[in-house]
Symmetry: C2
Subunit: 226 residues, 2 copies
DNA sequence: TTTCAAAGTTAGACACGGCTAACATGTCAA
DNA sequence: TTGACATGTTAGCCGTGTCTAACTTTGAAA
């Protein structure tokens, strides 16, 4: 009943975890949401959900969506931990840019053993966050909370520190990176134009105008909130 | 016709390469030899050989065995390069012992990109040999020749340097490693008992008696041959 | 030259993880 | 209350890679 999940199953579990913990998302996740996120057909998802349920990793009811079980959540966190530690490793030890790490990690996460990931963790000094600012679950597989808030929820003008960038798109990450927009960077939210207008920020006294899409990907913390 | 080989196909190609380049082996490889090496049934091998032939990686004739094509050889060497560089990386950068590296590399070799392996290669200073003394194909995928000879072909007494240990068995490697028998170690072949008897060697003035099986795994070079 | 054991292939099955086409259900707005 | 449309499932297919059982071929010893 309970073998090691396949690489495919692991990606489903990660998707389930991400979708069920997204801001204002319910615990139960739609078939369609999973299909969209993984670029698979809906019937494929239905079929895998049944299989994951049989393995005790997911609780699923026809037409009612799916939710991770405790076991499923653990497996998801194990893979997420691997993914993010691999990203840090590639970035710090092998010169990968933060826009390159995701795709490589997406494959390696299914091939590295628990032992290897622990040795990488130690070699890196037990990092808490990956290059995008995503929190890395510890060995005990508890997810660290990320006390950062979306840039769009800040009242301008305000000095903030970037904590996390919620994108894996390498073009987006390259564009942001070239402008110094990365976790740890101090920026100033200057103005938020109304009617879904752009956000004006200043970084190193240089003004940058971000569309709402981009701006909503930035998670920040006001500098005086520390 | 020619997609990227699957992980399974890559293991078949490696097996084909190893079996066809083994000492006193013909270029054509038996179905049974592959099945034994990969612990698979013979029908599975027949079926994969047909598939590899369709992909242009193997030339195969019913009841006549199989041989790698030029393309197949290239693919095999690409995977072998990955395997051995991963072994070096795990050993030197992450504290793996030489008895632990093989199993981990066996999975990772199918997941690392060509880009990643080149960065690992550079980070390691372009090593020529893996922890077992196996030669690492260069970026151009040419196999370096290993000018070492089997310990059993040496006329005792003779001072030799160990160049290579032809085993992936972790129990064997641990046993040898504990006694200092590893690539680079200088040893003295003291005596070769007749009638398939043991080989007596001395390392750090300590006598060790090796059965023929173990002794045949050691590849050495006389110290004055340099 | 015959025979027979080892090696090899074919046939047929299965699990997995995809897909499309067709059908079923749920939900929201009229 | 009732469509209509979005969402979800079922049915049936496919490719990959494995297996066992049964049959065929090879090649070497007698
Ligand atoms: Mn993945
Ligand atoms: Mn990340
Ligand atoms: Mn392998
Ligand atoms: Mn090796």
């Amino acid at each position: 009943m309970n073998r090691t999940p396949s690489a495919s199953a692991e990606d489903y579990l990660k998707a389930l975890y991400a979708l069920s913990t997204a801001p204002d998302a319910s615990e139960r996740v739609n078939t369609k949401a999973i299909a969209d996120r993984l670029s698979l057909s809906q019937p494929s998802v239905t079929s895998m959900l049944k299989s994951l349920q049989k393995q005790g990793l997911v609780s699923y009811a026809s037409y009612r969506g799916a939710a991770l079980t405790a076991d499923g959540r653990t497996e998801a966190l194990r893979v997420i931990r691997k993914h993010r530690l691999i990203e840090v490793f590639l970035h710090r030890m092998l010169g990968y840019s933060w826009s390159e790490v995701h795709d490589e990690a997406e494959r390696l996460e299914h091939a590295v053993s628990d032992t290897l990931i622990d040795r990488m963790d130690a070699a890196l000094g037990f990092p808490d966050f990956d290059p995008h600012g995503d929190p890395i679950p510890g060995r005990d597989l508890t997810m660290r909370s990320h006390d950062a808030v979306c840039l769009l929820e800040i009242e301008p003008p305000c000095e903030v520190t970037i904590k996390r960038v919620m994108s894996q798109d390498s073009a987006v990450l390259d564009w942001l990176g070239q402008r110094g927009i990365r976790p740890g960077a101090p920026i100033r939210l200057v103005h938020l134009s109304p009617f879904d207008g752009p956000a004006e920020i200043a970084i190193d006294d240089r003004a940058i105008h971000l569309g709402r899409g981009l701006a909503s990907m930035l998670r920040v913390r006001p500098v005086d909130a520390d």
